[in-house]
Every structure is written in structure tokens, then in C-alpha cells.
Subunit: 199 residues, 2 copies
């Protein structure tokens, strides 16, 4: 899965680049952020590949809009991409884990504690966002998942995995902070003992 396929998938209705960006920010941005400039460039390339076709329309307000439509070739390409096996999930770059891994270099457990605290806050914000979207989605399909469309069901699944991993991470943060605190008091005791023995 790449931005190309995501844009093709979002083009069920003829849309402009600007509108796509707004739609992006509503939902796919949680698992795939993208800048407007990148969207425009990608749309252009997709058009050159024959996956999209454009028509220029003048709107009542603002400048002319370039409306993109999915072609049959584009739809076929999308379906091929969707039918692929999922990418190897372990080949992800996790900058915050990398930073934590090397943070011992600072030789400052208090700094590590603040680092985890910061991640903890992000988890809470993220959880709140996921839950808000879940509520909105529930309102759309009535509340009972069994009656939801396949589209709503798939959307629910992505939210669910997000909520679960955020919760797991949050719990990790809490227990890690406790462990750091134990380490910090233990360190102080040792330092105290050292002081007493050296005088």
C-alpha cells in the first residue's frame, strides 16, 4: 500500500486535490499522513499513468478546479494492490523507540522518565481521537456492528486495532514510570550509602 493506491481508493466520487486533502485529514491521516503538495504531485503522476482522468471546471467561488475521476484501468490497478499480502510489519521505523533505546547515553533516568511521560500524553490524546471517530462511525451505522456495511465494518476494524495498541502502549507507559521511580529511589539510597561511607 502506498499513497497512489490510497488516493485511487479515495476517488470513489470525482474530487479535486484540495477536497482529497480535507478527506485525508478526517480519516486516513491516522495511519497515513500526507501533505497537499505530495497529493497534487501524486495525482499528476496517476493521471499520466492513465489511472485517473481530469476535467477542468470553473467553480462559482475561487479559481478553476481540476476534478479527478478514476478510470477503469485505475480501478483495476487498485484492486490488484488491495489483493496483495500485507507488507512486513516489522520493517517499520519507530523513531521514539530508537530514541528510548539510546537514551541511556544521557545517563539521566529523570530524562527517560519525562520522555515516557510525554509518550503517555500522546497515547491519551490519540485514544481520545480514536474514540471520538468510533462514536461518529457508530452513529452512522446505527450502533450494531452486525448491521453495519462492509465499509463501516472495515473502518471499525482499523479503529479497533488503533485503540488496542494505544491502550497497550499507555499501560506500558504507566508501568514503566513506576519502574523508573523504583530505580530512582534505589539509586538515591545507594548514593546516600556511598556518601556516608566516604566521610
Amino acid at each position: 500500500m502506498n499513497l497512489d493506491s490510497i488516493l485511487l481508493a479515495m476517488l470513489k466520487e470525482p474530487t479535486t486535490g484540495y477536497q482529497l486533502k480535507s478527506a485525508f485529514d478526517q480519516n486516513p491521516s491516522h495511519f497515513w499522513p500526507a501533505e497537499l503538495s505530495q497529493i497534487y504531485r501524486t495525482l499528476k503522476r496517476l493521471e499520466e499513468s492513465g489511472f485517473l482522468k481530469v476535467s477542468t471546471e470553473s467553480s462559482d467561488r475561487g479559481p478553476q478546479r481540476r476534478v479527478y475521476r478514476l478510470t477503469a484501468t485505475g480501478r483495476k490497478h487498485l484492486h490488484e494492490e488491495l489483493a496483495k499480502e500485507p507488507v512486513v510489519i516489522s520493517r517499520q521505523r519507530l523513531p521514539y523507540i530508537a530514541q528510548l533505546f539510546f537514551l541511556h547515553e544521557l545517563d539521566d533516568l529523570q530524562a527517560t522518565r519525562e520522555f515516557i511521560q510525554c509518550i503517555r500524553e500522546q497515547c491519551i490524546t490519540q485514544l481520545a481521537t480514536y474514540k471520538k471517530i468510533t462514536q461518529q462511525a457508530k452513529a452512522e451505522y446505527g450502533g450494531s456492528l452486525d448491521d453495519a456495511t462492509d465499509e463501516a465494518f472495515h473502518k471499525f476494524l482499523t479503529l479497533d486495532v488503533g485503540i488496542r495498541t494505544s491502550k497497550a502502549r499507555l499501560k506500558w507507559c504507566d508501568e514503566t514510570i513506576e519502574q523508573i521511580d523504583r530505580r530512582l529511589t534505589k539509586g538515591k539510597r545507594k548514593a546516600g550509602a556511598k556518601k556516608r561511607s566516604s566521610k
Copy 2:
């Protein structure tokens, strides 16, 4: 955190690009994969920035080796990077989530089931890897976390968050497959009812 900082952090001992790649594959590759070609390019740039200095040494076996050493400027730069706040974790690209989100387009729940199954297998493999490394690490620091060095402690933390998120994801896979199966049998019942009513 980027590859630059990771390489600086890994250069506690003077090392060659090739050795760095081996070390990479042992550990940081779980949260930051990198190819040799990229490592060489980055080392070159870091040297040009004055963060590293090189000395060419002839080895007893194989061609000459270029041994990189961290400079004082490099160490300072690394510490600045480490002291930064963690990056926004929600701005991650999760291709498999994106694919799942749009998978309803195929209109084939069975395909979604296989997709989740595939992710499930990856989770299991990943969990096994994490646990193996945890065992190795434990052997190094004796078994009791309280007595572990700060370095071992930080390493443990990164493994722990990996294990927890993998477990959460695995549980999600299992419960999702159950839900899909319920949906599939329900769909069949409906199709059957339709058939009966139409004849």
C-alpha cells in the same frame, strides 16, 4: 531521531560501516531497518559535518577498512538529539492499516479474513523474535532487572513495548477473525433465505 543519530549512538567504539551493519541487524533493525548503502552514505555525510573522523586501516584479511570515530562535536550533537521530545507518534505510516481500511472495495470478506490471518502470523513471528532477544539480554544482566545497568534497562523497555503491542495486535487478529466468521455465516444465511424466497 533519524539514522544520523542512530549511527552516532552506535559509534561508542571505533567501527567500520560493515560492522555497523552487522550490529544494526542484531538490534536496532527491529525499530529501524537500514541498508548498507544507506549506512555508507550517511557515514560519509556525518564525516563531512565533522561529527565523525575516519582513519584508513589495513586489515589482515580483506581489503582496507575505514574506521569511524565519534568526535566531541558528534557526541554533543547526539546528546542534543537525545534530549529532544519524542516525535509525534500518530504521524506514522501504517501501510497494513491503510490496506485494511480500503479492503472493503474488493467486496470479499474472505479476502479480509486471509489478510488478518497473514498479519496474525507476522505477529507470532515478531513475538518469538522479541522473546528470544529478551532471553539473551536477561542472560547478560543476570536476570534481575533491578541490578541491570541503565543500558540494559533501556534495552529491556524497548523490548517490553514491542512485546506488549505485538500481543495486543495478536489478540485483535484473533477476535477479528471470529467476528469475520460470524459475519460470513450470517451472510450465508441471508443468501439462503433469499434463495428460498425467490423460488
